[in-house]
C-alpha cells in the first residue's frame, strides 16, 4: 500500500469519486431542492443556481402549507415525532425480547430451536401485505388498530428477526470456553450472560439495533394501513404533500432532509461500533 504509483492514485481517486457521486448525488440534489420553490425545481433545464428559500422548512415546522388552492394543515412535526417514538420503542422492545432469545438460540440446543429461529426469520420472506390484511381485522376487533402499542407490536415483524439473527451470530462467535471459564470461576449463569456474553456481543448488538432502527424508520406499509393520521410516521406523512393542486416538491425534499437527519446522525455516531462489530475482531482473544 505504501508504494502506490501516481497512476494507481489517480485511478483510485476516480473510482472513489464515482462511487460517492453515485450514492451521494440524490441526497445532494434533495438537499438543494429543499431550499427551492416548486417553480425553480420544475424549470427546464434544471440549474443549481437559485435564490435559496427557507419557506419549505417554515411550512413544515409551523404546519401550514400554502398552496394555490389555499392553506393546508399538515402534521409533519407530529409525524417526525411518531417516527422517532415508534422506531425507538420498537427497537427497545426488539432488543429486550431479541437479545435473550438470540442467546438461547446460540447457546442452548433445545428441541425445535432451529425451526423456531427459522420461522422467525421467515417473517421477513413474506410480503408485508400478506400479514397486514388479517392483522387489520384482528386489530380492529381487539382494539389495537390505530394505537402505538399495536404499531410497535407489528413493527416487531421487521425488528425482531433482524436483531435475533444478527445478534445470534455474534453470540455464537464468542468461544463457549470463555463463558465456561467465568462460570467455573464461580459466577452464576445470569452473571455470565451480563458480564461476558453481553459486553462481548456489544458491538453486534449495537449494529443490529442500528439496522433495526433504520428498517423501522423506513417502514411505510404497516403504518399506512394500521394507523390514522395522528399516529403516522414521516414515511406515510409525506403523502400529504401530494395535494389537489400538485406535488409540493420543495416540502417533500425538506421533509426528506429532516427525516433522514436522525438516522444519519445515529449512523455517524454508531459508525465506530458498526465497523468494530462487523469486523468481528473484538471477540477473538
Amino acid at each position: 500500500m505504501e508504494h502506490t504509483s501516481t497512476l494507481e492514485k489517480i485511478l483510485r481517486g476516480t473510482a472513489i469519486t464515482l462511487v460517492i457521486l453515485f450514492f451521494m448525488f440524490p441526497i445532494f440534489w434533495i438537499f438543494l431542492m429543499s431550499f427551492q420553490t416548486n417553480e425553480t425545481i420544475l424549470r427546464v433545464p434544471p440549474s443549481i443556481v437559485f435564490e435559496p428559500t427557507l419557506s419549505n422548512y417554515t411550512a413544515l415546522i409551523t404546519g401550514k402549507l400554502d398552496t394555490a388552492a389555499g392553506t393546508l394543515e399538515i402534521s409533519f412535526m407530529k409525524n417526525l415525532w411518531n417516527s422517532l417514538f415508534l422506531s425507538t420503542a420498537s427497537v427497545a422492545v426488539g432488543l429486550v425480547l431479541g437479545v435473550p432469545a438470540a442467546y438461547a438460540f446460540a447457546r442452548l440446543k433445545f428441541r425445535g430451536s432451529e425451526d423456531i429461529a427459522f420461522t422467525l426469520l421467515s417473517f421477513r420472506f413474506a410480503p408485508p401485505l400478506l400479514v397486514l390484511l388479517p392483522l387489520t381485522i384482528y386489530f380492529q376487533q381487539i382494539g389495537l388498530a390505530d394505537t402505538y402499542i399495536g404499531l410497535i407490536w407489528v413493527y416487531q415483524l421487521i425488528v425482531l428477526p433482524l436483531i435475533l439473527w444478527i445478534v445470534r451470530g455474534y453470540f455464537e462467535d464468542i468461544p463457549a470456553d470463555v463463558e465456561y471459564a467465568y462460570r467455573i470461576a464461580g459466577h452464576s449463569w445470569g452473571a455470565t450472560f451480563r458480564k461476558i456474553a453481553l459486553p462481548l456481543a456489544g458491538p453486534g448488538i449495537a449494529a443490529a439495533g442500528l439496522l433495526a432502527f433504520i428498517f423501522a424508520w423506513n417502514n411505510f406499509i404497516f403504518a399506512l394501513v394500521l394507523a390514522s393520521a395522528d399516529k403516522q410516521p414521516v414515511t406515510v406523512g409525506a403523502l400529504a404533500f401530494v395535494t389537489a393542486s400538485g406535488i409540493q416538491y420543495g416540502q417533500v425534499a425538506a421533509g426528506i432532509v429532516l427525516s433522514i437527519l436522525p438516522t444519519f446522525a445515529l449512523a455517524l455516531y454508531a459508525q465506530r461500533y458498526l465497523v468494530e462489530g462487523l469486523s468481528l475482531g473484538a471477540v477473538k482473544g
Binding site: 468461544p175 470463555v178 471459564a181 467455573i184 459486553p199
Partner: protein, 369 residues
Amino acid sequence: MSLQLIDIVKSFKDDVVLDGVSLEVASGETLVLFGPSGAGKTVLLRLIAGVIEPDEGSILINGENMDGVEPEDRGIGMAFQNFALFPHMDARANIASPLTARRESQTGMKRRVEEVAKLLKIDHVLHHKPKELSNGQKQRTALGRALAGEPKILLLDDPLRNVDAKLRFEMRLELPRLLKDQQATVIYVTQDYKEAMALGHRIAVMSGQGIAQIGTPEDIYLAPQNTAIARLFGDPVINLLDVVPERGAEGVQVRLSGTPVPLHQGHAASIGHDCVLGVRPEAIRFVDADAPGSFPVTIEAETPLNEKTVTLAITEKKREILISRPSGTPGPDRGQAHVAIDAGAALLFDRATGNRIAPASAAAKGEPA
C-alpha cells in the same frame, strides 16, 4: 480434596467418547491424563468442571455427588488449552474473576492478584488486555486465574500446548513446585510424554474410549500395558521386534541376527509363541564382538541430538533398530558393529493382542538372568 469418577459414559450424538471411565484421585495428588487428541481427555475435564453432564455414571468430589451441581458451585479452578481469557477485561480483572465471585474485599483481592501475578512473573503486565499479551503471558494469566481462588481441585487442560518451546521447558520445571505449593488436587492434561512424566504422581493413559493404563511414570515407562502405550512414551521410540522365544543353553532366549540373546527367565511360558520384543533405545549398548549376547548390526545413520546420540542400525535380517547413547560416549558411526541388549530392560509383548507378557514372578525364577 479427593475426586472420584465412577463408570462415566459420555457420547456426542452417536460418537461414544468415554465408555465406563472410573478414576480416583487422592487429595493433593497430581494425576496426568495422557493420550492422543480425540481420546476424551478434555471431555473428561469438562465433565469434572460441570460444564457438560455425563450420560451415565457419577462424579464425586470429597465423596459428594456432583450430579446437578452447577460449575460455579464445585470449587474448581480450570485453565483452558486455548486460554479462554475474557477479552474485554485486563489481566488483573481476569485473574481476579474467581475473587469477585466471592465478593472479596478490594484490598484482599488486590493482594491476592498481585501475589499470584508475582509468582507467575506477570505482575508488570496486569493492566494489559489479553490481545496485548504474548502467548506466554496469556498462558500465565490463564493459570493465574485458575490459581487465584485457591481451588482445592485444579484442572489444567494442556496449558503448555500453545506456548513456545523455551517457555514450555521453563514451565515444566516451575509447575511441579507451583502445584505443590497450592496443595490442590490436580488433573493435568497433556499430549507430551515428557510433561506427563515430569509432572504426574500418576499418569492415566487414555486411548479408545477409556483409560488404558494408570500408574506411576516409572510403571508406565518400564512396564507399559501394551505396545501402543510403549510407543507413546519415550523418544526415540521403543524398538519393537517380532520374535519367537526359544529354549537355549542359558534358558529362555530369542534370536537376533541369528545370535541368541537371553531373556528374563520368567518368560518360559512364552516359548514357541509369536511375540514382540520391546527394547528401549537406551537399553542397547555397543559392545565388542566377543561380548556375551552380542549380535552384529550395520550402522545406517547417526543423529546427534543435544544430550544424546541416536543411531539407526539394521540387523542381518534387515530389521531396523534405534540405539541411543549419551552424547560424548564413544560409538561407531558407520560400518559394522556389535550391540547387546540389557536383558532386564527387555519387554515381551503378545504379537496378536499387543499386550505385555509379564515375566513369571521372581519366586519361580530358578536360574540367574
